[in-house]
């Protein structure tokens, strides 16, 4: 078949025309690649504490010395504690420039694709000092490393959650709207019952049911499962509403009159018409899970130490003290923002591209 007539290829061409969409796609790709290689890209282990570097601000990287380009280096910080307010303040120690090393093996080993290794892309030897690109938290843990490792959790759960709720939602919503009658009533009642209980209390109730001894990954996956099992109901309703309207559209009634099979009508006539709608909903739902994760952490129901996720990291920044004294703790919030934004732009671009009727 001629490439130019392939609708997928044409959609792809239209997608490439959208600058925000392409940029967002690239950003997301980069984020997922970073998440995959988090252990290698992070200079420190997730949990290692540095008691002498508590709430240390980010270290600036210098590329020039005396006007000449040199190997990138950072200065070590000197910590002083105010005797009255107990605020730690840090000053660059200009006498201690520390060059950044690349491909350095140190610290506790991490797992990558079944291998155990302690190679890191960059870092500063422990004997020479520290390098915290995004500063440290209350225990002197490297925020940059924690964000990288935390992205593994934050970026994957949305995908899992959306997959589960979409499969159920589209299936049941489609059936309900297309067939109507008793099936419709049954599914409608089920979705109504599920939707009538606010999501937050259900989660809170479930959090007391989940045993405290479960590892945090299980707890989290369990809550994601619950979220998506509640999430499908809303989607099913909207899909039903769309199908209900589409069923009355001329070309569908025409297809029915021609004696086309139910499956054919659903797949050839109704699903394509819903696709743009579903894509918008999917891109809206995906970031919803990322946001949902941070809300769970706010209520103390999300991921638990010693694991990390962006929501959990952001929890440290949720007070005026941090906002005014340690603003770098807000970085996980910026990452949540970027990833959610990227998903939205990507979804918009895909929607516009997938819209087959757009050709004039």
């Amino acid at each position: 078949m001629d490439k130019r007539n392939n609708p997928l290829y044409l959609a792809w061409l239209r997608f490439l025309r959208s600058k925000p969409g392409v940029i967002s796609g690239v950003v997301l790709l980069v984020l997922y690649v970073i998440a995959l290689f988090a252990g290698f890209l992070a200079p420190y282990n997730l949990t290692v504490q540095h008691p002498d570097a508590i709430y240390q601000p980010p270290q600036r990287i210098y590329f020039f010395r005396d006007g000449r380009p040199v190997r990138p280096y950072v200065y070590q910080f000197k910590r002083e504690r105010d005797p009255v307010t107990f605020i730690s303040s840090y000053r660059e120690d200009r006498s201690r420039p520390t060059p950044i090393r690349f491909f350095i093996a140190q610290g506790e080993p991490y797992r990558f694709l079944g291998l155990k290794t302690n190679w890191h892309l960059f870092g500063v030897p422990e004997s020479e000092g520290y390098f915290f690109p995004l500063g440290t938290d209350q225990f002197g843990r490297c925020l940059f490393s924690r964000i990288l490792v935390g992205s593994q959790v934050s970026l994957t759960v949305g995908v899992i959650g959306v997959l589960i709720s979409f499969v159920i939602g589209i299936l049941l919503g489609g059936i309900s709207g297309y067939f109507g009658g008793r099936v419709d009533t049954l599914i409608q009642r089920t979705t109504e019952v599920l939707l009538s209980i606010p999501r937050l209390p259900i989660l809170m109730a479930l959090s007391t049911v989940i045993p405290a001894s479960w590892p945090s990954t299980y707890v989290y996956l369990g809550i994601i499962g619950v979220l998506s099992f509640i999430g499908w109901a809303g989607l099913a309703r909207v899909v039903r509403g769309q199908v209900l309207a589409l069923r009355e559209v001329d070309y569908v009634t025409a297809a029915v009159a021609q004696g086309a099979s139910n499956l054919r009508i659903i797949l050839r006539h109704i699903v394509p018409n819903l696709s743009s709608y579903l894509i918008v909903t999917a891109t809206l739902a995906l970031p919803g899970y990322i946001i949902g994760e941070s809300a769970l952490s706010f209520l103390g129901l999300g991921i638990k130490e010693p694991m990390a996720s962006w929501g959990l990291l952001l929890k440290d920044a949720q007070n005026f003290q941090s906002l005014s004294l340690y603003p770098w703790l807000l970085t996980p919030g910026i990452l949540i923002f970027i990833s959610v934004l990227a998903y939205n732009f990507l979804g918009d671009a895909l929607r516009d591209a997938a819209d087959v009727r757009q050709r004039d």
Binding site: T85, F86, G300, Q318, N319, F320, S324, L325
Partner: protein, 589 residues
Amino acid sequence: MNRRKLLKQAAFGMGLGVLAPWLSGKVLAQQAGQANVPANLFQEIGKRGGTLTLPLGSTPQSWNYFAVIDNFAYTVLNNIFDRLMQLDQVTFELVGVLAESWTISKDARTTTVKLRSGVKWSDGTPFTADDVIFTFTEVASNTNLRANQAATLTVAGVPLRFEKVDDLTFRVVSNKPYGAVLQALTFSPIMPRHKLAPFKPREDPGGYSRVWATNTDPKEIVGTGPFMLQSYVPDQKVTLVRNPNSWRRDPQGNPLPYFDRLEYLIIRDPNIQVAQFLAGNLDQIPITGAQFPDLKRQEVATGKIRVLRGSTIYTSPPHWGFNFDVPNPELRELFRNLTFRKAMQFAVNRKRIIEDVYNGLASLPGHGVAPGTFWYYDTRSYLGEWSLERAAGLLDSLGLRRGADGQRRLPSGKVLEFGFTYASDSLPFSAIAAILQNDLRQIGVKLNLQGIQQGTLLSTATGGNFESILMAYGDQPDPQLRKDIWQPGGQLNYWHRSVWPERGSSEPKFDQMFPWEKNIWEIFRQAEQLGDQSERKRLYDRWQLLSAQNLPVIMIVKPDAVAAGHARLGNFYARDSRIIFTNFSMFEK
């Protein structure tokens, strides 16, 4: 836990009325011009007028003091009702409030209390000994009321008897001597008999619990305290106004309180409390050590607020408890081994916890008693210095050798790891957990953190659903009041549940106790039935020493009290490392 404790402590701080020493012995008539509250509450004589606005962390459940267990309701009610006596904020000694004086008989079985004369309820009815008898016999010791104090009003299993002598005198009689009788009397605010007796708390406790709900006409809530209820807007504000019949007078004889109105804004989020405080909508807030640096910085920068720190009895020192009855037999044996617990104590970096978690606003803990108070016995030398080498050495001596992966092994060859349950929604608790986990990992011990909600901490502990746990119990002025915690077999002695009495029995299982636990049990039994305070102090000293040596639990640190108030507040100050303020002595400059 910290915030609640602070609120509770703030609640305690108010309504502290004390008999000035130079007036004791005189007959006090209720006249203007005669001081009747302790002079140490006053940095200066205040001026009348204005509104004091304070935060309340949640909606009060009821105005019926003994019907609900609710610190937020108590915070409000402590302005409306008075107690017989309370602790002085500076000396921590008992001073009279509604009681004017008291004597204890030689055999320490009869306490005679003389009440302040001329005190009136806010509706004008005179206050008499009948009110006191009603409160203690019908309400406070009524085990059918949710918030009863019956446990402290019982000695050796027999309830105290309250007898009226005359309108302003009553007697407390016990079968055995009761050394903590006065402290027990401080727990219950005195309720108006003429308003509440018709609801028959003894005959119909269920019906009694329903009266004085939060939608009651405020005029019905009648007290002797400095303020009285004016209105309540659900989830938003509680307004109190000056009690026109308030009996309190400042050192120059001016009537107290100084403020016309006292308002509580209901604000759940501590962050918003801080914001409202900085915006000038709140006059004073209880804060924690974690909030101290930022607020202190604002004090230094603007001078608009004042942040005070001091020591106190009531803050809750966290401790690390090990379940002596954990199902895993190897861990059970280990947790029961004193050498193991000593090793764990060496791994507790108290200095770092004080510095980094509490921002320096904490000190070394006592063992069951707040340091610097009358009952305290100095056990600091038993706490030891933080030393991972010594901890490792002790673990080695137990034969818990490190494997090739650096993890220590139990005798069975399994990795030495155990659970550590803590309140993940408490900032200091999760910080302590993270520090301990990190330090123990360096000596090959794996701590599995299990974060739970603060509200379920106590039931998790007393239910025995943990391997080790980070807990905190508030300190009280008299060790007798905490015997449920520290006496083996007590209901809150959660770490050794196998010595708890059989259902229906009052005797714990002595055969399950360690020798030192038997000693402690005996100390509490004896001290309860002694009237001689120095004799009791000797016994409690020995208990603290036994605890420090045998480590039933590992005490972590004792947090300081901190409070922040606006610079315009008068008589809000610190003296001798005590934070001093009451709602009736503060005023607007």
